[in-house]
C-alpha cells in the first residue's frame, strides 16, 4: 500500500520565518524546541568528545587542569540544563501529548511559545558565560568554590535560573492541558502511559524547580553582596547549599528519566502488539517515583560533612526509589512476554533502554548504600552510573521516541537499515565508553581530573574509543533523520499499527490536529480487541 503526503498540513499551512517565530501551534513549538535542544546536545557532545580526547593519555594533550575543569563543567551544564531537562517534555511532550489526548492544542498556547523564548534567553546567557570567562564549578555549583572562582558564575547561574522558568511554564501548561482538554470519553485510566509520565514530570517541574531558582538566587546574592548564607566566615553553612541544590536536583533526575519511561511504555506496547501489562502499576509508579524522589536528596552528601543521622536516613529512603522503577521494568518485560515482537528501530532503542537503565538503576542502589558510597564517592563509578541512567535511560528513550514519532512529525520515513546500524553503534559505543568506568571507579580513579595514574591508561584509552564510536553513531542519525525530512518515503497515518490517538490523524497532521472533534472509541492498548487501521506494513512475527 503506497501512501502520499496530505496536501495541507501544519508544516505548509503557513509559510515564512514569521509564521514560525510567532506560531501558537504546539507542533511547531515542539519543532522550535527540537532545533534548539538538539543543537545543545550537539554542543554538549563536542565537549564530551574533547574530554575523552584529553583522557586518551595521562599527559596534557589539549587542555591543562583549568581548561579541563571548564570543559567538564560546560559539558555537564549544557547537557543537564539545556538538553536533557527540556528534551522529552518540550519536544515530544509538546508535539505528541495534545495529539494523544485528542486535543487541538495545549491549554495555553501563548504561554507555550513564551516558554520557548525564555529557553532561548537562557541559552543566550549560557553562551555569553562561555565567552566571558567560562565556568569551572561543575554543573552542581558547589559552594564555597562557586563563591570564590573568578569564572563567569553569575551569567551561568542566570542562565540556569531563566531556564528553570521555561521548565515551570511547560509543566504548568501540561498539567492544565491533561486535566481539561482530554477528548470526550477519555478517562484518566484511558490515557496513554506517555501522558501519565508527562503528567508526573510536570508535577515535579512545578514543585521542585522554584527551589532551584531560590538556590541560584541565593548563590548570586552571596557572590554579589555577600549575604552570608553559605559562607562560613559569616556564620553560613556551605553544606546548606548542597541541601538546597539537591532538593531540586534529585527530583530533577526524575524530570529527566520519567518522560523517557513514558516513551518506553508506548514503544513496548506498540512493538509487542500486546495490551500493556499492569497499566495502573506503571501509571502509579510514575507518581510513586515523583513522590519518593523528594525524600532522598541527601544521598549526594554522604561525604560532605552531613550529620551521620541524616546520612543513615537518606540512605535508607533511597532504597525505596528502586521499587517503582523495578515495577516498571518487570511490567515491560511481562508485556513483551508472548507478544509478537517486531524489532523495528524504535523497539531496538527500547530494548537498549531496558538493559542499560537496569544497569544504571542497580548501580544506583550500590551508590545509595552508605558504607559503599564512602569509597565510591567522586570516582568514575559515579560518573558511569549517572551516564547509564541518563544516556542509557533518557537518551535511549528520546531517540527511540524520535524514531517512533518521526513519521508522524514529518510524514516521512527514515532509512531503516541505517537506523538499525546506528542503534548498534550507539549501544556498543556506549558500553565501551562507560562499562570500564565502573571498573576504574572501584579501583579508585577519581572524577574531574585531566590526568591519571599510568595504571588506568588502558581503560581510559578503551573508553575514549567508545566515545568516538558513539560520536559516529549520532552523526549518522543526524544525517539520515534530516535526509528523511526531505526525501523519505511517505509514511502514512499509522506506520506502526499503534492504537493511541495521535495515529488517527494524517501524517503530518493539520494545524488543528484532527478533522472535527475527536472521540474515544477504544483504549490506548486494546490490541486484543481492535485491529489498527491504516497500517503501512504487515509485520512478521518473530
Amino acid at each position: 500500500m503506497e501512501h502520499t503526503i496530505p496536501e495541507k498540513h501544519y508544516l505548509n499551512e503557513a509559510t515564512g520565518w514569521k509564521s514560525w517565530l510567532m506560531t501558537l501551534d504546539h507542533k511547531r513549538i515542539g519543532i522550535l524546541y527540537m532545533i534548539m535542544v538538539m543543537f545543545s546536545f550537539f554542543l554538549g557532545g563536542v565537549f564530551a568528545l574533547l574530554l575523552r580526547w584529553e583522557l586518551i593519555s595521562p599527559d596534557k594533550i589539549l587542555m591543562g587542569p583549568e581548561m579541563y575543569n571548564q570543559a567538564f563543567s560546560l559539558h555537564g551544564i549544557i547537557m543537564i540544563f539545556l538538553f536533557i531537562i527540556p528534551s522529552i517534555p518540550a519536544i515530544l511532550g509538546n508535539f505528541v501529548m495534545p495529539l494523544m489526548i485528542g486535543a487541538k492544542d495545549v491549554a495555553f498556547p501563548r504561554l507555550n511559545l513564551a516558554s520557548w523564548y525564555i529557553y532561548v534567553i537562557g541559552f543566550c546567557f549560557a553562551v555569553y558565560a562561555l565567552f566571558t570567562g567560562g565556568i569551572d564549578t561543575g554543573w552542581t555549583f558547589y559552594t564555597p568554590y562557586s563563591n570564590e572562582t573568578t569564572t563567569a558564575v553569575i551569567p551561568i547561574l542566570t542562565a540556569a535560573f531563566v531556564l528553570g522558568f521555561s521548565s515551570i511554564f511547560t509543566g504548568l501548561n501540561f498539567i492544565v492541558t491533561i486535566h481539561k482538554l482530554r477528548a470526550p470519553g477519555m478517562t484518566w485510566f484511558q490515557l496513554p502511559l506517555f501522558v501519565w509520565a508527562i503528567y508526573a514530570t510536570a508535577l515535579i517541574q512545578v514543585l521542585a524547580t522554584p527551589v532551584l531558582g531560590i538556590t541560584l538566587a541565593l548563590l548570586m546574592l552571596e557572590r554579589v553582596v555577600g549575604i552570608g548564607i553559605f559562607d562560613p566566615a559569616m556564620g553560613g553553612d556551605p553544606v546548606l547549599f548542597q541541601h538546597f541544590f539537591w532538593f531540586y536536583s534529585h527530583p530533577a533526575v526524575y524530570i529527566m528519566i520519567l518522560p523517557g519511561m513514558g516513551i518506553i511504555s508506548e514503544l513496548i506496547a506498540t512493538f509487542s502488539h500486546r495490551r500493556i501489562f499492569g497499566y495502573k502499576f506503571i501509571a502509579f509508579s510514575s507518581l510513586g517515583i515523583a513522590f519518593t524522589g523528594f525524600l532522598v536528596w541527601g544521598h549526594h552528601m554522604f561525604v560532605s560533612g552531613q550529620s551521620d543521622l541524616a546520612a543513615v536516613i537518606f540512605s535508607f529512603l533511597t532504597f525505596f526509589v528502586g521499587i517503582p522503577s523495578g515495577i516498571k521494568i518487570l511490567n515491560w518485560m511481562a508485556t513483551m512476554y508472548k507478544g509478537s515482537i517486531s524489532l523495528d528501530t524504535p523497539m531496538l532503542w527500547a530494548l537498549s533502554f531496558l538493559i542499560l537503565f537496569s544497569i544504571g538503576g542497580f548501580t544506583g542502589i550500590v551508590l545509595g548504600t552508605l558504607s559503599i558510597d564512602v569509597h565510591l564517592h567522586d570516582t568514575y563509578f559515579v560518573v558511569s552510573h549517572f551516564h547509564y541512567v541518563m544516556v542509557g535511560g533518557t537518551v535511549m528513550a528520546i531517540f527511540g521516541g524520535l524514531h517512533y514519532w518521526w513519521p508522524k512529525i514529518w510524514g516521512r520515513m527514515y532509512n531503516e537499515t541505517l537506523a538499525r546500524i546506528a542503534v548498534v553503534l550507539i549501544f556498543v559505543g556506549f558500553n565501551v565508553t562507560f562499562f570500564v568506568q565502573f571498573i576504574m571507579g572501584t579501583q579508585g580513579m577519581p572524577r574531574r581530573y585531566y590526568t591519571y595514574l599510568p595504571q588506568f591508561q588502558g581503560m581510559h584509552g578503551f573508553s575514549s574509543i567508545g566515545a568516538l564510536i558513539m560520536g559516529v553513531g549520532f552523526l549518522l542519525i543526524g544525517i539520515y533523520l534530516i535526509h528523511a525530512i526531505f526525501k523519505g518515503k511517505p509514511a502514512g497515518p499509522n506506520p506502526w499499527r499503534a492504537l493511541t490517538m495521535e495515529w488517527e490523524t494524517p501524517s503530518p497532521p493539520r494545524a488543528g490536529n484532527f478533522e472535527g472533534a475527536q472521540r474515544l472509541t477504544h483504549g490506548p492498548y486494546d490490541y486484543d480487541k481492535v485491529v489498527p487501521e491504516n497500517a503501512l506494513k504487515q509485520y512478521k512475527t518473530l
Binding site: P144, P232, A233, M234, S307, A310, F314
Partner: protein, 144 residues
C-alpha cells in the same frame, strides 16, 4: 460551576469583623507573650500563634475555606514540601558531630562572626556554635 459559586460567595460583614478582631487579639497576645521568658518554648509559642493567624487569613480572607478543595490541596501540599525540606535538613544541621567530635580551627580568624562571639552574650553564643559546625564542614569539603 463550583468555582463560579465560590467567587460569588459573599461572607457576612460580621464574620470579617470577627476574624479581624480575632487577629488583633492574637497580635496583642504575641506582644504580651514576648515580654515573658518561657525558655525553649519561646519560639514554639510565637510560631504557634503565627500559624493560627495565618490559617485564619487563608481560610476566611483568602476564601480557601469556601473554594474548590483542589486549592486547599495545593496550599497544604506546598507547606508539606516546605516542611519536608526544613525537617530533613535539620536532621543534618542539628546532629552534626554525633559520632565523632568535631574539632575545627576557625575558618577565617578575622571574620566578623568570631568578633561578636567574644563579647559573650547569649545570642552570640549560638552564633559561635554554628560557626563551629560550619568551620568543620569547610575543612571536610575542601578535600574534594
Amino acid at each position: 460551576m463550583k468555582d463560579d459559586a465560590a467567587q460569588r460567595h459573599i461572607l457576612p460583614l460580621n464574620l470579617y469583623l470577627a476574624v479581624g478582631s480575632g487577629l488583633l487579639v492574637l497580635t496583642v497576645i504575641t506582644v504580651a507573650v514576648a515580654q515573658m521568658d518561657f525558655g525553649q518554648m519561646n519560639l514554639l509559642i510565637a510560631m504557634g500563634i503565627a500559624v493560627v493567624k495565618a490559617t485564619l487569613v487563608a481560610m476566611f480572607f483568602m476564601h480557601l475555606k469556601y473554594d474548590n478543595r483542589i486549592y486547599m490541596l495545593v496550599f497544604v501540599g506546598s507547606l508539606l514540601f516546605l516542611g519536608v525540606f526544613i525537617i530533613f535538613t535539620m536532621f543534618d544541621t542539628l546532629r552534626r558531630g554525633d559520632i565523632y567530635e568535631e574539632i575545627a580551627e576557625p575558618y577565617q580568624k578575622e571574620a566578623v562572626i568570631y568578633r561578636t562571639a567574644e563579647t559573650g552574650t547569649a545570642s552570640s553564643h549560638a552564633a559561635a556554635d554554628s560557626s563551629h559546625n560550619a568551620a568543620e564542614t569547610e575543612t571536610e569539603t575542601s578535600d574534594h
